[in-house]
């Protein structure tokens, strides 16, 4: 029932064909029954008229013969009567079976002599009473419908036509010609059956025609739907074929116009993106060459700082340090603009994450000479292989770590690695000043600082977390932040084992295990 409903709802052709069949069923039934009653009535009235005419002839014939037999003996009269019965039974249309019954009128005077007779053992008792009463009063021919019963018990629906006859010397009798209606009934049945069969055939034909017609309409619509679907999947050069000038062609025209406009917009955007990419590439090249020269020059000066006076020597140190920072900023800006232009490309390889994390920790641990923080690494596995862009994963780890080092205030930093079959998660937890809710929302914003008055100890560019988030997303991964004022922060990176796969579960939650909301608010 449910599947039937769904077919009905989903398929326009099923809906239309079904409605058409139901409606035409009603129409065919009405027309059929009207036709049936007209035809049956016609057959019955024709049959009646011919039967009455035949009966009238038979009565006239009988009356005439009896008139002629006035002077004959009883035996001769009986013979003549028998002849009349045989004549009336056999004359007329042969297929229509008829019987003749001659019966004494109940009102005539009693006599031992009886001319009553009936053909083929038909019983005179089966003549309906109403016609006998009518004949008593009328001299005209009377008729009724009823059931004729034979002596052997057979029954037959019949038309009883009666008239009075006078038998000389014997008084008044009634003569009935009884016409069998079997022939008429079978004709009517035949007509009804034909009507039924024709009706069914008609409905099936209508269903078929409807289906063909609907298909003509639905097929282009289906094609249009298919092309629209492929269009949304990126095949922007697809168009609907226009083969006619009907409403469907109008639809196709509109669709094609829309498609052309979308394609144009997209190619315009692609062009913009290409221009942007080109610009980024140009900036890269144009800035890098002078920057390289600057760096080399500054290092030559820096290497000779021992021979300079103190302010000059210090200046050379600042120069080198700031060039370093400038270069990092340039790199980050270019990376961000690549993300914006959506030209960042993933280069996945299969590698073990743990050595990478250890390397990042070692590198950054060396850098953080001012604040010595303890960094611990915890993993549920001794090897954690994944397929991802190693450079980007390393950058995410460095950004998370340096962010933690910037904000941990010398406290312990915990790195936790957890895995499932298809996901890998890394949490970087610090116990520093933490983040409030307003900060959590903005923590991945570009150039955003939790505390503007706070010095950039590690000389970060302010783009690190934002780039880390984009890097994670490029893998189809996630980067979540958690924090509470005074309770530190926790950043959780979740990556699919194979870059690009959908994340199904998260091995680590952003809220760290050591934190309980209840305790916090008490």
């Amino acid at each position: 029932m449910r599947s039937f409903r769904s077919i009905f709802q989903r398929s326009l052709s099923a809906k239309v064909v079904l409605s058409t069949v139901i409606l035409s069923l009603g129409v065919v039934w009405l027309a059929g029954s009207a036709l049936d009653s007209r035809l049956s009535d016609g057959i019955r009235s024709t049959n009646l008229n011919s039967s009455l005419a035949e009966a009238r002839l038979a009565f006239f014939n009988a009356q005439f013969k009896l008139l002629m037999a006035q002077s004959l003996t009883v035996e001769e009269r009986k013979e003549i009567l028998a002849g009349i019965v045989v004549d009336a039974t056999t004359q007329g249309i042969k297929e229509q079976r008829r019987e003749v019954i001659i019966v004494k009128t109940p009102t005539s005077k009693k006599s031992s002599l009886s001319y009553e007779m009936a053909s083929n053992g038909a019983l005179s008792e089966s003549i309906p009473e109403n016609v006998r009463k009518k004949i008593l009063k009328s001299s005209e021919l009377e008729y009724t419908y009823g059931t004729l019963i034979y002596g052997n018990g057979d029954k037959e629906d019949s038309l009883f036509v009666g008239n009075r006859i006078d038998i000389p010397g014997a008084g008044r009798y009634e003569m009935y010609v009884v016409f069998s209606l079997a022939q008429q009934a079978s004709t009517i049945t035949l007509i009804q059956n034909s009507l039924l069969v024709t009706g069914f055939a008609l409905i099936i034909l209508i269903a078929l025609i409807t289906w063909i017609v609907v298909r003509q309409v639905v097929r282009p619509v289906r094609e249009a739907a298919l092309i629209a679907k492929q269009f949304t999947q990126g095949e922007f050069d697809l168009r609907l074929p226009i083969t006619s000038k009907d409403e469907l062609a109008t639809l196709a025209h509109s669709f094609n116009d829309m498609a052309a406009s979308i394609e144009q917009q997209i190619s315009r955007l692609e062009n913009l993106s290409r221009v942007q990419q080109r610009f980024v590439s140009d900036v890269t090249h144009e800035l890098r060459t002078p920057l390289t020269t600057l760096r080399m020059a500054s290092e030559v000066i820096y290497n000779h700082r021992a021979s300079f006076e103190a302010p000059v020597a210090r200046s050379s140190e600042l120069l080198v340090a700031q060039l370093d920072r400038f270069e990092r900023l340039l790199e980050d800006l270019l990376e961000v603009s690549r993300f914006d232009a959506e030209v960042a490309v993933l280069e996945p390889v299969n590698f073990d994450l743990l050595p990478l994390i250890k390397r990042c920790v070692a590198d950054l641990g060396v850098d953080s000479d001012e604040k010595t923080s303890d960094i611990s690494i915890k993993s549920d596995n001794s090897v954690v292989y994944l397929t991802a862009d190693m450079r980007r994963v390393e950058r995410i780890m460095r950004n998370l770590l340096s962010n933690a080092l910037d904000h941990c205030d010398g406290s312990q930093i915990e790195i936790t690695v957890a895995t499932t079959e298809s996901e890998i998660a890394v949490a970087v937890r610090d116990h520093g000043s933490g983040l409030d809710e307003a900060s959590l929302i903005r923590v991945f914003d570009r150039f955003w600082r939790a505390d503007p008055s706070r010095a950039r100890v590690r000389g970060g560019t302010g783009l690190g977390l934002s780039i880390a988030l984009e890097d994670a997303r490029l893998h189809n991964g996630e980067l979540d932040a958690w924090g509470r004022p005074g309770k530190g922060a926790n950043f959780v990176l979740t990556l699919p084992r194979i870059a690009g796969d959908a994340i199904q579960s998260r091995p680590l939650k952003p809220v760290p295990d050591d934190f309980h909301e209840d305790n916090f608010y008490q």
Binding site: T284, H285, R288, P290, T292, T293, R295, V300, R359
Partner: protein, 226 residues
């Protein structure tokens, strides 16, 4: 004193490179155009070429191809970071190594140049055989039957590194460290491109290598000494 030909259209950078290289004891010649580079190379062959990718006159990649046709001299490409397609094209054109601008520090540049100029595997002497190849390490020659196969110095070093320990699997990182002198690098394209080039010179069918074989997921090894 090793001679270095520096080809870069950025005049200031070229001059700066000259200053730094000279201060490290190299003899430096500077040209700023691709077509001039070929002339300078032919008139006074250097020990190493430092070649920028983007050049006026003739493109750096084309210069690299031309030089490779004439000589097996070490070529180090200079390219701005991010132009990764240029790097691959440069390597395929025959460059041995590349350095991205801006250089992390000049020592890295000097170290890379020294590695390319150094005779690697100087501890190995005599003959090595691998497959149907005979490698004369001392004479710096590779011979198949009576035919001599010409390899660049880097290709030769790569082959010797693999052949001196047949059957041992070298990771790409290990090869980067042994042949190119990198301490740690993530760019394994260097290895891949050079292995392809080496194969095209020494294998009977580079599609089905028998001498330098790939160990899927790990790295490369030299085939048995059959």
């Amino acid at each position: 004193m090793a001679r270095i030909l520096v080809v870069d259209d950025a005049l200031d950078l070229a001059e700066m490179l000259g200053i730094v290289l000279t201060s490290h004891g190299f003899d430096v010649e500077i040209v700023n155009r691709g077509d001039e580079a070929l002339e300078a190379f032919r008139s006074n062959p250097p020990d190493l070429v430092l070649l920028d990718v983007m050049l006026p006159g003739i493109d750096g990649i084309e210069v690299c191809t031309q030089i490779r046709k004439e000589s097996m001299v070490p070529i180090v490409m200079l390219s701005a970071k991010g132009e990764s397609i240029d790097i691959v094209r440069g390597l395929e054109a025959g460059a041995d190594d590349y350095i991205q601008k801006p250089f992390r520090d000049e020592l890295e540049l000097i170290a890379r140049i020294r590695t390319r100029l150094r005779r690697t595997n100087s501890d190995i002497t005599g003959l090595l055989t691998i497959g149907d190849l005979t490698i004369d390490v001392t004479a710096h020659e590779v011979i198949r039957g009576s035919q001599k196969i010409t390899l660049t110095r880097l290709e030769f070093d790569l082959l010797v590194a693999l052949a001196k320990d047949p059957g041992r699997v070298f990771t790409r990182d290990a090869l980067l460290s042994e042949v190119w002198g990198y301490r740690h690098s993530t760019d394994t394209r260097l290895v891949n491109v050079h292995v392809q080039r080496l194969r095209s010179k020494i294998e009977h069918d580079p599609e089905h290598p028998e001498i330098v074989m790939t160990v899927r997921g790990v790295g490369y090894k030299a085939g048995g000494t059959a």
